[in-house]
């Protein structure tokens, strides 16, 4: 085997260079005798900070990415001078990634939105004039009142972005009268969450590696526990070291590996950073993760032998906790008798899966065996496997089934549905009660009555199974409007006339870029924009902002207050405290909500009352206190029992210390234990973090009479409160179908007339290796296109120069042409200031095209060469290739939102738009996953041409 050196060094002498071989002393084969390392005791940050003079330490939460880690920011003379992870927050345990640490370059970026802007040119030209807040709010208010009168409030979509503090905007627009308040979840990852949602009532299954956890000890005390129990973690299309949505999966994966001998397997077409620390990398064909899962399940069912300890895969006690297994099992097995037209093999057999996944039969059997036999284990799938494929639903359903039947759900070291165990928060602040308001609409001349909620464009329109406020295909809605198919307002039609987009950047990442631009630019016959009002509320000036009529500058994450709790293993909440006052003329969401509510009230909209808005929330703190009130809001469950002095199964509400001390009232009728409510003030006294105790086995409880575990019915949020292999979650949608005989568009597309009762299977799009419809493209378009999030360079952080010094996996590499740009950088005093900087060739990371070395060779491409990517729809993107051995042949990988960036607000990166590829430019604008309507980001094929 030949040896290759393919290196990137960040050494100051030569940014892009082949690293010299490092001489090292002999001595390999480590691993034994490793200390079980415990954390350093928390340093006294205040004391340390004071060594720098008059420094205030603030505990807050990040939002440079949706991980929203607990942070510690040091402030001197009103400026942030240092950023670290908050050691009191178990989600990140004091860790802080490169992006988090670079936050000052975003907060103090010269490219921020500084004051309100009103459009002067055409949409997309980027011509705006500076406006006062009064002027901008007046403009928006008048337009909203006009749209409400002419088309109804439901004609306005409020998209509140991918951060947890969206409640103010939801409240505002629910009160306005539109149920169409959505967040980033609409366009990301929904098929991935579908299995857990259907079968557990949850959302995201993650490995039990968040450490420390606060655990009740046998002596009654509570202690931080750093012990790892995991023995096997399989990450499928999930790259936590780079996509870093779940902070603890960085330290937790390597921690479990080193300290507990946990085996880590990464299944991914690309050799990700996570794969680099795994014991095994399985380079699977894109879009076939569900095939692997199906083959694993068949293997386990066929080979399980309860009397052979080496084949005792299934923990049949799961049947005491579930409904519908027999139906699921029968339907799954019914496929074994059918042959797949693409390869003539029996569905879900090893031969079938080998043909489709490109892995060997032996590899598939081995991974199935290891997952079956190793306990505790977790099978975890991500955004780029089921998440972004047309058929991600069967994959996430089978994945959930595999975790359940092997007995790994919620055991120590197993798989945790984090959605079900995080805090309940938000409470009344979100304003969901406004959706219950009665409304009347005329349908074919007859007045009908319903509630605001019944106007929802998805639930009562084309996507009734859209969960979590999901709206997936809005460029089409902008063009075609909404027809309600179901519910009391059936037959009502309305156009989309207002689009409020707060953070997020759908023009670059919400589906096909051209499709979005066309929809936002579309005009009626009189030359007026069809979407009459586009408002962008954001700290940053991104591409979507260029298509806005009004831009409102929102305070950055360091300048506003809210809460975070992103997918922890148990109930923990941390405060996003205001670290500094809003910069420039920006305002916090609470103030923006109140200003708009007051304006609408002044303009005669009687839906807005002082008692619901500006009198009720006089400060951000008032709003956040209301959000905190329900916390932790989960039922008391699991082992070790979190509060031995409190009854199991009761909902807990109140601060950790009041629950622990028993300063509670217990309502036995409603089964609620209420302690002292969590407040901002309490959070501040506790380094910004509230941590309730961890427990495991929360879905079950030991029944002494029966002598076995039975379902606790305290955690699962399915209709039965059990694990469901028959999907009662679909019943209400099927009722809508049977009432109207209208089949939702997505179901029709896959040939179903109703939502299936149990296991189902259909093929993905644009995959010539699994779907006969696309087999004809195999020769002309020999590459499958995949896409991965580059944590350092998401759509809204590329104005941060330091993150262009951190190469990532071949998709974010220092392959720039030379250019000049004004950036914010450290001066001689170590303070940030604006400087004009020249970036030499090869010194600045840009979005690149990762390609397998053999493929590159056959195309005559070498690292740095320009290539054109073209899909069968005729769309093209251009970029520089990065040649790597760490890529499955026949696969091309791009970063999400890394290339083709044309907003000047993105800073230096906008100078590189002509030679960097935009992945969204190649996405099929008409492909939406059939159950929830999400764009199919990961289903595409291309050809590659050297320029």
């Amino acid at each position: 085997m030949s040896s290759k050196n393919n290196s990137f060094s960040l050494s100051r002498r030569n940014f892009l260079k082949i690293s010299a071989a490092v001489t090292a002393t002999a001595g390999m084969g480590f691993g034994a005798n490793m200390l079980n390392i415990k954390e350093v005791s928390a340093e006294e940050s205040e004391k340390l900070a004071n060594s720098l003079g008059n420094v205030e330490v603030k505990y807050t939460a990040d939002v440079m990415c949706p991980s929203e880690c607990g942070m510690e920011m040091w402030v001197k003379d009103g400026r942030i001078i240092k950023i670290y992870g908050n050691e009191s927050c178990p989600f990140n345990d004091g860790a802080c990634c490169a992006k988090g640490a670079s936050g000052m370059q975003l907060v103090y970026s010269p490219d921020r939105n500084k004051y309100p802007l009103i459009r002067e040119g055409e949409r997309g030209e980027g011509k705006f004039r500076r406006a006062t807040w009064e002027e901008a709010i007046d403009y928006i208010g008048k337009k909203l009142v006009d749209i409400k009168k002419t088309y109804g409030p439901e004609s306005v979509i409020m998209d509140a972005g991918d951060v947890t503090d969206r409640d103010q905007y939801y409240r505002l627009f629910h009160a306005f009268g539109t149920p169409n308040c959505v967040e980033h979840g609409s366009i990301c990852d929904t098929p991935r969450r579908h299995g857990p949602k259907l079968m557990l009532g949850g959302k995201r299954i993650e490995p039990d590696v968040m450490r420390p956890v606060l655990v009740r000890q046998p002596d009654g005390s509570l202690k931080k526990d750093y012990t790892y129990y995991s023995k096997l973690i399989i990450y499928v299309g999930w790259n936590p070291f780079v996509a870093t949505r779940i902070n603890y999966e960085s330290r937790g994966t390597v921690g479990a590996k080193v300290e507990n001998g946990c085996k880590v397997i990464v299944v991914d077409p690309a050799h990700t950073n996570t794969a680099s620390q795994a014991d095994q990398w399985l380079p699977i064909r894109p879009g076939t993760d569900g095939d692997l899962f199906a083959a694993m399940l068949r293997y386990i069912l066929e080979n399980d032998n309860q009397s052979n300890p080496f084949k005792k895969y299934i923990d049949w006690s799961f049947k005491d906790l579930c409904v519908g297994w027999d139906e699921f099992d029968a339907e799954f097995k019914s496929w074994w008798g059918k042959t797949d037209p693409i390869n003539g093999k029996s569905y879900f057999s090893l031969e079938w899966a080998a043909d489709r996944t490109g892995l060997s039969k032996e590899q598939i059997a081995e991974v199935a065996h290891e997952f079956g036999i190793t306990k505790p284990a977790a099978l975890v799938w991500g955004m780029q496997s089921p998440g972004h494929h047309f058929n991600g639903y069967p994959a996430s359903i089978i994945g959930t089934a595999l975790n359940i039947i092997t007995g790994n759900i919620d055991v120590p070291g197993g798989a945790i549905d984090t959605e079900l165990v995080k805090c309940d928060k938000g409470g009344d602040a979100k304003g969901s009660n406004f959706k219950k308001k009665k409304v009347k609409r005329a349908v074919e001349g007859i007045e009908v009555e319903g509630e605001v909620e019944h106007l929802h464009m998805d639930w009562y329109g084309d996507w009734p199974a859209a969960w979590d406020d999901v709206v997936g295909d809005y460029p089409r809605r902008f063009r075609e409007g909404v027809t309600l198919n179901y519910g009391p307002l059936k037959g009502h039609k309305y156009p989309i006339k207002g689009f409020m987009i707060r953070t997020g950047n759908p023009v670059m990442t919400g589906g096909n870029t051209k499709d979005w631009i066309d929809a936002l630019n579309a005009k009626d016959s009189s030359g007026n924009y069809k979407v009459e009002l586009v408002v962008n509320i954001d700290t940053l000036y991104l591409e979507t902002g260029m298509y806005a009529d009004v831009i409102l500058p929102e305070a950055s994450y360091a300048e506003r207050m809210s809460l975070s709790d992103v997918y922890p293993s148990h109930q923990v909440l941390w405060l996003r405290d205001r670290v500094i006052n809003p910069l420039h003329e920006s305002k916090c969401p609470t103030d923006i909500m109140n200003m708009l509510a007051k304006k609408l009230s002044d303009l005669g909209d009687t839906d807005f009352k002082a008692s619901d808005f500006w009198d009720k929330y006089k400060s951000e703190e008032d709003f956040v206190n209301e959000m905190l009130a329900p916390a932790p809001g989960r039922n008391h469950a699991g082992e070790p029992v979190p509060y031995p002095h409190l009854p199991l199964g009761y909902k807990l509400q109140g601060t950790p210390d009041s629950l622990d001390a028993g300063r509670v009232t217990i309502d036995h009728e409603k089964k609620v234990v209420k302690g002292e409510l969590v407040t901002v003030d309490w959070m501040r006294k506790n380094k910004g973090v509230a941590v309730w105790p961890m427990s495991w086995n929360r879905f079950k409880v030991f029944d002494k009479e029966a002598g076995k575990y039975v379902a606790s019915k305290a955690v699962a949020k399915t209709n039965s409160k059990l694990f469901e292999f028959t999907f009662s979650g679909y019943e209400k949608y099927n009722k809508l179908i049977s009432e109207t005989s209208i089949i939702p568009r997505g179901l029709k597309e896959i040939g179903y007339d109703k939502y299936p009762n149990t296991f189902y299977w259909f093929e993905t799009k644009w995959n010539p290796y699994t779907n006969m419809e696309y087999a004809k493209y195999k020769d002309e378009y020999p590459f499958q296109l995949i896409c991965g999030r580059v944590h350092h360079a998401m759509t809204g952080t590329q104005m941060v120069p330091w993150l262009s010094e951190t190469p990532v996996e071949g998709t974010w590499m220092p392959l720039n042409n030379s250019f000049k740009h004004k950036i914010i950088d450290m001066n001689a005093k170590g303070e940030l200031e604006e400087v004009e900087k020249e970036f030499k060739t090869g010194t600045f990371c840009v979005g690149t095209i990762a390609i397998n070395a053999s493929d590159a060779k056959s195309l005559g491409l070498k690292t740095g060469d320009l290539a054109i990517l073209e899909n069968p729809l005729g769309a093209q993107e251009k970029g520089k290739v990065y040649v790597t051995e760490g890529m499955r042949p026949g696969t091309i990988k791009l970063g999400f939102g890394t290339g083709g960036r044309f907003s000047p607000g993105i800073g230096p990166t906008s100078k590189n738009k002509d030679y960097t590829p935009n992945h969204s430019g190649l996405v099929d604008p008409n492909a939406h996953s059939p159950i929830m309507g999400m764009p199919c980001y990961a289903d595409m094929i291309i050809k590659v041409k050297k320029v």
Partner: protein, 193 residues
């Protein structure tokens, strides 16, 4: 400097089994120490080795090795570079005349000439934090909990135990510089299985 400091010998251990390649060390250092674009006190070399599918990406986080026999201290004509009794190799920027000898002498490329300050610059082990009871910023923020800092002379310290209980390596031991940054599982030069 505290009185008992002469008893201390500061060093760092980087457990490469836990490095996740995130570069938080590189950027946290820039944030902490005001390091401008284009230069680094702390950085990560990444190397891909092997052929598909037996390929692996290796990380080598780097910083000043705070050598016991530091060539940069020896060559400094004005004694601006010096070694503290606790082992830290530091630089008095007021004395530095910007001759660049130290930059050239370092076998680890750990020093650079600061364009903004016109003097040599390098990692200080965050002495300003350490002297006040903290740990270097790169250790504090490390995502993989792969970096450990402490007193090698204290047998009860975590870092001393790591060094004594694990085979550790230093970079370029043949140079005789005696680096005080130790790597666990340093297999940068090994081929994958």
């Amino acid at each position: 400097m505290p009185e008992d400091s002469k008893l201390k010998k500061y060093g760092m251990v980087i457990d490469l089994r836990k490095c996740v390649g995130c570069m938080s060390c590189s950027v946290s250092c820039k944030m902490e120490n005001g390091v401008s674009f284009g230069v680094f006190r702390s950085w990560v070399n990444m190397t891909e080795k092997g052929d598909y599918p037996t390929v692996k990406r290796y990380y080598q986080p780097r910083l000043c090795n705070h050598c016991e026999n530091a060539p940069c201290v020896e060559v400094c004509p004005v004694k601006a570079s010096y070694k503290r009794e606790d082992g830290m190799v530091l630089l008095d920027k007021k004395k530095c005349i910007g001759c660049g000898y130290c930059v050239a002498s370092c076998p680890y490329n750990a020093r650079y000439m600061s364009k903004t300050q016109k003097v040599a610059d390098k990692c200080t082990f965050c002495d300003h934090r350490v002297d006040n009871g903290g740990e270097p910023a790169c250790v504090k923020n490390c995502m993989g909990k792969a970096r450990f800092f402490g007193d090698l002379n204290d047998p009860n310290s975590k870092i001393a135990q790591l060094v004594s209980n694990n085979p550790v390596q230093v970079i370029k031991p043949g140079q005789g510089t005696k680096p005080q940054v130790f790597y666990i599982a340093a297999d940068f030069n090994q081929q994958p299985k």
